[in-house]
Subunit: 247 residues, 2 copies
């Protein structure tokens, strides 16, 4: 009996794929959006673009763009590659100089009024010494760093307000449990600069003495090493450190 059922065409996978014809089910568009943070003037900033075209013309939006796909054999670019590409296009910064991590997918119906769009959001951290280069290098003349505090009430295009809020929440969580703080200081930094980054993100002052002690543990663990030179700030100069294991 089962032989009877099995007796019809038994394909190999190669045969199946050769004969495969994609149905014409409707597909959504897929984009990547970037939440790019930096810290300038002791303030958390995000890179936004003033939209010149509809929809949401005139509103602020996260930089991003469509994922390049094809129905050819190569199928187009990787998701993360697309994020890196957009990052380079929007900031002008060399590939690999910016820390990038996936935030998640956002795809509520109606988030783009034109058509169904699923976006994969990424958050990126730009060292403050690179941040000034961004405004000049961006291909969108209306791109710029916006203070998160000033942006508080401001509505953004699409569902970008929700994405931004999710990114900020993630940042606050990660700053306490991971090493991402190092991504928001220059390569060579003082303890105070690192503490300031933490203070800005956490939104509260940290005790300099206690912070130094916890930093001391990182030195002992070899995570961070002292480097020659000092930082002159008009007062007593501070020692300069370097995050070990960084290009």
């Amino acid at each position: 009996m089962s032989d009877m059922l099995m007796s019809d065409v038994e394909q190999t996978e190669a045969e199946y794929l050769a004969a495969y014809e994609p149905g014409d089910f409707p597909r959504p568009s897929v984009t990547v959006d970037l939440v790019i943070f930096t810290i300038l003037d002791r303030d958390l900033k995000v890179l936004l673009i003033r939209r010149r075209e509809h929809p949401f013309k005139g509103a602020l939006a996260l930089p991003g763009g469509f994922l390049r796909v094809s129905d050819d054999a190569d199928q187009g670019e990787d998701l993360e590659a697309a994020a890196h590409r957009e990052l380079a296009e929007e900031t002008g910064l060399p590939l690999g100089s910016v820390w990038l991590n996936q935030l998640g997918a956002f795809g509520a119906p109606g988030r783009d009024p034109r058509l169904r769009v699923i976006t994969v959001a990424w958050f990126a951290l730009v060292r403050p010494d690179l941040a000034p280069l961004v405004e000049a290098g961006s291909d969108a003349a209306d791109a710029g760093w916006f203070s998160l505090t000033e942006l508080a009430g401001e509505p953004l295009a699409f569902d970008h307000r929700g994405i931004l809020d999710a990114a900020v929440a993630r940042l606050e969580r990660d700053i306490e449990h991971t090493d991402i703080g190092y991504e928001l200081v220059s390569r060579r930094f003082t303890i105070t600069e690192l503490r300031s980054v933490n203070e800005v993100i956490l939104g509260r002052k940290l005790d300099p003495g206690n912070f130094r002690r916890s930093f001391q543990r990182l030195i002992e663990d070899g995570v961070v090493v002292e480097t020659p030179g000092e930082r002159y700030t008009g007062r007593r100069p501070a020692k300069v450190y370097r995050f070990k294991g960084r290009r």
Copy 2:
């Protein structure tokens, strides 16, 4: 001067949308895939399906399916709704009885040999008292719980091995920092049962006395409350607790 430039057609957003015609840029397909965990016999299990059709015919795969979208005004279902729908279809469990959370988007070219597919992966935790209902209720007769330890070397269909590994890593991280442990015990549970869940996921024995003490703090904080009844295990019965703030 600028008046001159502005003097050509100035559309409102409504006009723009009414006239909007989507270009025929190629779009990827979008799916949702589920990593559904439970704990049975003091062992972490994941729900997998034996594929009956090409591609990867005969291989084990994560349950999942295509996101339903449309070019109509409603644009189709929400991403999370799709995950919930697939979860209900694959497990037969009532909507809302299972904890569900987004893991992330996976979209490497070639991950589906047929066509370009971006998948949004979700991880779900099924209470052990509901787990036995799953195999019966599933629409895929070949669905079943597989031990993660036994699955260690086993290759899975598509890039599902990578997704599964990411989910396990997330589980290990979250079990120490969040409350998800409660999602893997019955509604009424003993301290030992909760400890066992942690032991299984962390892969090491935990001191009963120390674990009890940390649990004590949760009682004091009102996170968890004692409930009437005891649990008979053949030995000394244990007190039964309930996670406060659960349906």
